[in-house]
């Protein structure tokens, strides 16, 4: 193994330890958002130990958590914010709404599933999913992200 390959492998290993998380609310009822917040704020479920950090700007993000069934009103904004996130990025659908529409699935204003518009890598079903499930989803997303670096 040449020196260059070794450096590249080391930097990839280190970079995979710093996934920053950004949340997009695509018309969610806020239940999943509260559960996402607990993964960072409640002492028991500390997502920062994986190196994660919730960031305020989509341009800083590596892993995107999308909640909500993608309402028709919010679709354009969600796609635009999603496009602002620099590559490589990983998408996690949190809650049953982005996966199938959940209890809103037949609503006239609901465009779920979200995978019709955005490539989703990890699904975390639940209404709302437990914080442990969200953290496991993030951990799986980190594995995917490591491959993409």
């Amino acid at each position: 193994m040449t020196l260059k390959e070794m450096i590249s492998a080391q930097t990839r290993r280190m970079a995979a330890l710093s996934p920053w998380i950004y949340r997009i609310n695509a018309g969610s009822c806020n239940g999943c958002d509260v559960e996402c917040a607990t993964t960072a704020l409640i002492p028991r479920y500390d997502v920062e130990r994986l190196g994660c950090q919730y960031c305020g700007s989509p341009r800083h993000a590596d892993i995107v958590l999308i909640t909500g069934p993608l309402t028709a009103r919010v679709k354009d904004s969600v796609l635009r914010v999603y496009a602002e996130i620099p590559d490589p990025k990983v998408t996690v659908a949190v809650g049953v709404c982005p996966i199938s529409g959940g209890i809103f699935r037949d609503g006239y204003a609901v465009l779920a599933p979200i995978s019709k518009y955005i490539p989703v890598d990890i699904n975390v079903p639940g209404c709302a999913p437990r914080p442990q499930a969200i953290i496991e989803g993030i951990a799986q997303a980190i594995e995917v992200w490591r491959e993409r670096l």
Partner: protein, 318 residues
């Protein structure tokens, strides 16, 4: 030959540049870890700021269409270079004395304002409305804390100068030598108001809660940094890591530069910085909420300004 290399080496390797960067990243890592512990969490690994930098170096830098590209990409460079220069100006008592040709306390004061100015320029060049809000808030905070800082530095300089039988001395080397022979200003009641003012100044300069109003993530989405991504954002992180070392080093030089000679002096310096960072920054930011911009502005115009002016007056009259 060696003497001509002294200053460039000081800027790039030790005590500036690489060493200061490692020190600053370590301070940031300790800060994040202790903050997590105080909140009852496990917290990130100690080297987390380094991992963040490596990650940012591998990402793509996006420039918004409406941004002024040369200014947008140049601003973080200017800030980082200014801070690398400033690290070479901060002495380490007992170990490192900066070349007097490089500048004294006044140059350091000017360099310390560069990061705030750079953030203002970056925010306005990004074309984002949040950047513009960050610009105005950064300017308000800076105007509020610069005054007390200048008065603190002036009273330390005046105390040293009068003690030596002359007029104000703006050489950090002389200030340190005076304290090492006459006792640190930390234990000098005349200097306590200035010390309190400095303790209020440095959290504001480092941009942490309760004074992180320009970059508040929950209100203005990190303000000036909103549009930055990848290596350009990494340069801002390097700048703030270097700034932590410079500001804490300045505080140590002004108030408590008592240290043994040689390598133990370095260890003592690092230990003092860690204590200042953990007590003055981490504990403060986990125990307080963010102030509003007007509260922060009035706070600085009321207490630190009054305390530092009082200190200057006592020193001048004593």
């Amino acid at each position: 030959m060696i003497e001509s290399l002294y200053t460039p080496l000081a800027m790039l390797i030790f005590p500036g540049g690489l060493f200061a960067l490692a020190l600053g990243l370590m301070l940031k890592g300790l800060d994040r870890r202790l903050a997590a512990r105080l909140q009852g969490r496990v917290g990130p690994p100690l080297a987390q700021p380094l991992y963040d930098l490596v990650k940012l170096a591998k990402k793509r830098t996006m420039v918004p269409d409406i941004a002024c590209q040369p200014v947008f990409l140049g601003a973080p460079l200017i800030g980082t270079v200014a801070m690398a220069l400033a690290t070479a100006l901060v002495p380490i008592p007992g170990l490192y004395t900066p070349d007097p040709m490089l500048g004294d306390l006044l140059v350091l004061l000017y360099l310390l304002t560069v990061p705030a100015v750079v953030l203002m320029i970056a925010g306005s060049a990004s074309g984002s409305p949040f950047g513009a809000i960050g610009f105005s808030r950064e300017m308000a905070v800076m105007l509020a804390y610069e005054g007390p800082l200048v008065l603190v530095v002036a009273s330390v300089a005046l105390r040293t100068g009068l003690g030596q039988g002359g007029w104000a001395s703006f050489s950090l080397t002389e200030i340190i030598a005076y304290q090492q022979s006459h006792g640190a200003f930390l234990f000098d009641p005349v200097m306590w108001p200035a010390l309190l003012a400095f303790l209020a100044f440095y959290p504001a300069n480092l941009g942490i809660i309760p004074f992180d109003i320009p970059e508040a993530e929950t209100e203005v989405l990190e303000g000036p940094l909103l549009e930055y991504s990848g290596p350009a954002l990494g340069l801002f992180k390097i700048m703030s890591a270097l700034k932590a070392g410079v500001v804490l080093g300045l505080g140590i030089a002004l108030f408590f530069p008592i240290a043994p000679d040689g390598f133990p002096g370095l260890l003592v310096q690092v230990a003092k910085m860690v204590v200042l960072m953990l007590l003055g920054v981490t504990v403060l930011r986990v125990s307080m909420g963010r102030m509003r911009i007007d509260q922060a502005f009035y706070f600085f115009l009321k207490w630190p300004l009054a305390l530092s002016a009082l200190s200057l007056a006592i020193v001048a009259l004593a």
